[in-house]
């Protein structure tokens, strides 16, 4: 937004002849004023679909790298364990396929329903987190009761909790946007987080707790938690760390052993040292794909927690840099969505999800390289692990979904659909990835059945998003004829005339088509009665 508004003023001004000191200073000020933000995205990053493409590209590459590296890191251990060498790799591939399927589902999820059901989902997840603590239901592994066994697969409710917290938190904060005080920002979200964190800690699952914390941090940050609160929390955190460090207890020694893993090479620092060894062995270009030495049962959890070390060993610094860069791209894409979306929920949710994913990646890579204490946080999209991968891919699908609700994206997609009515996949493609109807999704009402016998189906009695088209206050709803085609109206259309293009709305979406390019105003999330 800022980039586009400033664009015309970027042209160099003609230098004044015979410049005096005053005029030079004025010119400098003027140049300074017109310089705009520190980082400006290049023009090729300014397309309407760039967010979706960046998410798909970076996540897809990370997934591909992850599948290859999981196969590489796990095959030796599997073979030494008298299993087929490809078994863990294929298992991961199956999870990836399931995850991609879920991502396709996520791409076409109606955001309004997503929001509506998030509260129920929070309840369900809380119950699941409670259930997992029950010995009969929860499956214990490595001293932690984290899994619910569903026969074929084990589900990790703590992974689900992070996603649900992100969606529900974004929904709650978006609902209160207009009346938001600091207290209102904190109260339902933070207690819910504390409850979930307590349940997750009881498993115990330190990694998931950190993940929940990251989600809440993303929500509060983009929800607008005042700077002094953030500073206060930061001071409290630093003080806590300092007190723990100075207390010199046994637990503190364990936590801070990452600073010098060689002090305890046999027990506490064993894994950390082997990870450092793996990275160092890789050097700049790595020892080559599949040539890792550390995966020969030397480095514990080589295919999950410490897969970044194997990447560093086999693909070297270059490979690590690619992975880090891809996470950077994903971060950029996530915040790009948060910046460009007009729906407050989308803004919050994508920011929270991005902070969570990238923060988790940083924590994982951070402890592998020895910057952080070792926690069981996995590397998103790369580490082996069923629930985590499936859920992360679902989240990637959600991000794509969010990216497609950017007003410019909707406009572009509509234009594209109009230009290419059939498309490559035809109706299947449209069904798989429909064009979002509104930049700001309305909230459906739960539990009310639509009355039958009406020609125009009642859509919950709620209004669709209305956006200004440049005239302040002219919040005219698009006429029914101009309204984008929906599933409901599709029923009314004659079934024989499949090839007739659907009526398309010429109404601008958001302010993207307006010449003045004023900031997008959302009409508020409170549903209104139709007039």
């Amino acid at each position: 937004m800022a980039a586009s508004t400033d664009a015309p003023t970027r042209t160099a001004r003609p230098a004044r002849p015979g410049g005096t000191a005053t005029s030079a200073r004025a010119a400098r000020r003027g140049a300074q004023a017109s310089r705009g933000p520190l980082f400006r995205a290049p023009a090729w990053l300014d397309g309407p679909m760039t967010s979706a493409h960046l998410v798909l590209g970076s996540a897809g590459l990370l997934l591909a790298i992850g599948l290859v590296m999981v196969f590489s890191a796990s095959s030796v251990e599997a073979a030494l364990d008298d299993q087929p060498a490809w078994l863990p790799g294929v298992r991961q591939l199956v999870f990836a396929v399931v995850g991609v399927g879920l991502a396709l589902v996520a791409v076409r999820l109606p955001i309004g329903h997503l929001r509506r059901y998030s509260g129920i989902a929070l309840l369900v997840v809380t119950l699941m987190l409670l259930a997992v603590l029950v010995p009969g239901i929860g499956k214990e592994l490595n001293g932690a009761r984290q899994w619910i066994s569903l026969g074929v697969v084990d589900v990790q409710p703590s992974e689900l909790a992070k996603l649900v917290l992100a969606l529900w938190g974004a929904h709650v904060i978006a609902l209160r946007e207009k009346w938001l005080t600091t207290k209102a920002l904190l109260v339902p979200v933070v207690p819910a987080f504390l409850l979930l964190a307590l349940l997750v800690l009881a498993e115990p699952d330190m990694g998931a707790t950190v993940g929940l914390g990251l989600v809440v941090a993303g929500l509060l940050w983009s929800g607008g938690l005042p700077g002094r609160w953030i500073a206060g929390l930061g001071i409290v955190a630093v003080a806590g760390i300092a007190i723990t460090a100075l207390s010199a207890s046994y637990r503190a020694a364990r936590v801070f052993s990452f600073l010098d893993p060689f002090a305890d090479p046999e027990d506490g620092g064993f894994q950390a040292i082997k990870g450092l060894y793996a990275l160092a062995t890789g050097g700049f270009t790595g020892v080559g794909l599949g040539n890792s030495r550390m995966k020969w049962n030397i480095l514990p959890h080589a295919e999950s927690d410490y897969i970044f070390a194997i990447i560093g060993e086999e693909l070297g610094f270059l490979g690590c840099l690619v992975v880090i860069t891809l996470y950077g791209v994903l971060a950029y894409a996530g915040f790009r969505i948060a910046r460009r979306a007009t729906d407050r929920f989308v803004q919050l949710a994508s920011a929270a999800i991005t902070v969570w994913l990238i923060g988790q990646a940083f924590i994982n890579m951070g402890y592998v390289v020895g910057l952080l204490p070792v926690t069981g946080v996995t590397l998103p999209l790369i580490s082996a692990g069923g629930t985590s991968l499936v859920l992360t891919l679902f989240i990637v699908g959600l991000l794509v979904r969010f990216a497609r609700t950017e007003p410019e994206a909707i406009e572009h997609l509509r234009a594209h659909r109009q230009a290419h009515p059939a498309g490559r996949l035809g109706r299947l493609g449209r069904w798989l990835v429909p064009v979002p109807e509104q930049a700001v999704a309305p909230l459906p009402v739960l539990g009310r059945r639509a009355p039958t016998g009406r020609t125009r189906p009642d859509r919950g009695g709620r209004t669709v998003a209305r956006v200004r088209d440049g005239r302040p206050g002219a919040a005219d709803r698009p006429r029914a004829a101009d309204r984008p085609a929906t599933r409901q109206t599709a029923q009314a259309r004659p079934a024989t005339d499949e090839r007739v293009p659907r009526p398309r709305s010429a109404a601008p979406v958001g302010s993207a088509g307006s010449r003045t390019r004023q900031p997008v105003r959302t009409p508020g999330d409170r549903p209104r009665r139709p007039r």
């Binding site: 937004m1 800022a2 004023a33 933000p37 980082f39 030796v76 030494l80 946007e177 207009k178 009346w179 938001l180 005080t181 993303g218 940050w221 983009s222 929800g223 607008g224 450092l276 060894y277 793996a278 990275l279 160092a280 062995t281 890789g282 050097g283 700049f284 020892v287 599949g290 040539n291 030495r293 550390m294 020969w296 049962n297 030397i298 560093g312 610094f317 690590c320 840099l321 880090i324 950077g328 971060a331 950029y332 915040f335 948060a338 910046r339 407050r344 803004q347 920011a351 991005t354 902070v355 990238i358 923060g359 990646a361 940083f362 890579m365 951070g366 390289v369 020895g370 910057l371 900031p519």
Partner: protein
């Protein structure tokens, strides 16, 4: 942004709300429609997004920076530590060289074998493991179970397991059972040549015989294998796998003939089992080269059983044990007398039955009235008195000189450890009785090899060639390095040697002391010896029995082989001509036949044993 203060969307400055009392708790906080805020302004939202992204990017950059340190700056040190962490070094045992006879038949060689070792901390089921191994290893189950449950991480189950068995054990894939290289030394000939070949200890070092003397050449150099392993010691295929190959040991080829050695030992064994002979040695030597083709002492030992053999037997008495040679020494005395011109074979001496020497009187074997014997007769009849008379003409110092020239009193330098030099006193220290005893082989000690060497000198025309037993060494690459052959030294002139050979023939002739030493078809020259054996109980000669010896060569007209036989008979008074000469004859017959030596073309000359002594 500069427009911020005028931005209408900015949240208004918050004013302190009016304090509510408890009674107002149920009142709405503000009147309807009086919103306090209109949400987060786009400016703040943009800034938050930008800062959020910035923080994440900074975190990722921190990881990348740490990676630069880890993989670039500190990388080498860590990588080396990691490599040495994974590196294992294994020894590759060099195969010890073989010991071969002169025809290349192995007397000792090494085969690959394994030591079966268990790591009791890894063994999963000791009982089942023990059952699986008991028949393969031939170890009782109880003992295996004990070994498999022993404390510690290293428990030897069996040693010297052959490759077929070790392959079977490998196929069982038992956890915790490890095979270690343990090359095993085999002695296929058993006791044959055992004293010459020697044996090795548990650590593979040669402890006796050729094994000890040629340990450096035989043992070779062990190699090493440096290999990167994963957990559990599994080699990593893509890792470092460097080997310094082992350099196998060289083969040592002896001058020994295995067949002949076998025959010699058989003949000696027969002698040792007759109840009289407690120890018997024989040395067979080539007359012109000084090479020992057989050397044995009964009783011998089997090198493969060395660890369980009486340590007193683990020697080579033919070179390490000394005895008083007795009359065989007379050849030296007479050689000196003839070489110095004091006598010829036909010189006639009037020999009394006894002769005073200092405080003792030396007699012949049987006292007799004075007889006129030629020098040949003195030798054939083995007259002590006649020999002493000639020795007195030679003189003590000159006699000692000749004895030392014949190699007595010093080691021969044969390539075997533990060789004795014998005992030969300085002539200046000889008492009168010692001076009379030494010429007839008492009061002087020699080894069987030394005695054979003396007669080799005579058989070789007076040129003594120090005896040798190693022919050559063969490196693993096939390079043959012959052992340096020692230079011969002339001790007596050729004519003296010929005269001695002529006279020695008379010993086995009619009237000689050893008609039993004859070999049909060949002319044999030799000399008997019967020396009193010092009684170890009292340190005197009484009751000590005798060393009976016979040393000789054949054919006398063209000597090919020298054989020395020496039998220790503590409880018998039989003479050398009666017990040692037959052994000599049997061995000589075999040697000559085996070597296809042409029988003598001329008959033995008739000897003039008596004559008319010049009266003076």
């Amino acid at each position: 942004m500069p427009h911020r203060p005028t931005d209408p969307t900015r949240r208004p400055v918050r004013t302190t709300p009016p304090r509510r009392t408890s009674t107002e708790a149920l009142r709405p906080r503000r009147a309807p429609g009086t919103r306090r805020t209109r949400g987060l302004s786009p400016t703040v939202r943009t800034r938050r997004n930008r800062w959020g992204l910035g923080v994440l990017v900074v975190l990722l950059v921190a990881v990348a920076t740490k990676l630069v340190v880890l993989q670039g700056i500190d990388g080498t040190a860590y990588a080396q530590a990691a490599e040495s962490d994974r590196m294992r070094v294994f020894d590759i045992a060099a195969i010890r060289g073989a010991v071969l006879d002169r025809d290349g038949n192995p007397l000792a060689y090494t085969v690959e074998a394994s030591k079966v070792v268990a790591d009791p901390t890894v063994v999963e089921d000791p009982d089942r493991t023990a059952l699986a191994l008991t028949t393969l290893l031939g170890v009782p189950v109880d003992q295996l179970t004990d070994d498999l449950t022993a404390s510690g991480r290293y428990s030897v189950l069996a040693e010297h397991v052959d490759t077929a068995t070790s392959d079977q054990i490998t196929a069982l894939e038992l956890p915790g059972i490890v095979l270690e290289d343990q090359p095993t030394r085999l002695y296929p000939a058993g006791t044959v040549g055992g004293q010459v070949v020697g044996f090795i200890g548990r650590d593979g070092d040669g402890l006796a015989g050729i094994e000890q003397r040629y340990d450096d050449q035989l043992s070779g150099t062990d190699g090493t294998r440096r290999v990167e392993v994963g957990a559990g010691g599994i080699p990593i295929p893509s890792g470092i796998d460097e080997s310094t190959p082992a350099v196998d040991g060289s083969d040592v080829t002896l001058t020994i003939d295995e067949d002949l050695q076998y025959t010699v030992q058989q003949r000696l064994a027969t002698e040792c089992s007759n109840g009289q002979t407690t120890r018997g040695s024989a040395v067979v030597m080539e007359a012109h080269t000084g090479r020992v083709v057989a050397m044995a002492t009964c009783p011998g030992y089997d090198p493969s059983q060395a660890s369980t053999t009486d340590p007193d037997l683990l020697g080579n008495p033919a070179i390490s044990d000394v005895f008083e040679p007795g009359s065989v020494m007379k050849a030296v005395t007479l050689s000196a007398a003839i070489e110095d011109g004091h006598a010829t074979p036909d010189t006639v001496l009037s020999v009394n039955g006894h002769i005073p020497a200092g405080d003792v009187v030396v007699t012949d074997a049987h006292d007799h009235a004075p007889v006129d014997w030629t020098v040949t007769g003195i030798l054939a009849k083995s007259s002590n008195v006649g020999t002493i008379m000639l020795a007195r003409e030679v003189g003590d110092a000159r006699l000692e000189q000749y004895m030392r020239a014949f190699g007595l009193g010093s080691t021969t330098g044969i390539e075997l450890p533990g060789e004795s030099a014998g005992i030969l006193q300085d002539s200046a220290d000889w008492t009168a009785s010692r001076a009379a005893n030494v010429p007839i082989g008492q009061g002087v000690s020699v080894t069987a090899l030394q005695m054979a060497s003396v007669y080799q000198t005579i058989a070789n025309g007076g040129v003594r060639i120090p005896p040798r037993i190693v022919e050559s060494t063969t490196a693993p690459d096939g390079t043959v390095t012959p052992e340096p052959q020692p230079e011969g030294t002339r001790v007596i002139s050729e004519s003296t040697a010929q005269q001695m050979a002529y006279m020695l023939e008379a010993v086995v002739g009619p009237g000689g002391t050893a008609p039993l030493g004859e070999v049909p078809g060949f002319r044999v020259a030799g000399k008997t010896g019967t020396a009193q054996r010092a009684n170890p109980e009292c340190g005197c000669y009484s009751g000590g029995g005798y060393f009976t010896t016979f040393v000789g060569f054949a054919p006398a007209d063209d000597p090919q082989y020298v054989i020395a036989v020496d039998l220790e008979r503590p409880n018998s008074d039989a003479e050398g001509g009666q017990v040692a000469a037959p052994v000599f004859a049997d061995l000589m017959q075999y040697v000559l036949a085996a070597d296809d030596v042409v029988p003598s073309g001329s008959p033995r000359p008739d000897f003039q044993l008596t004559g008319t002594a010049p009266t003076n």
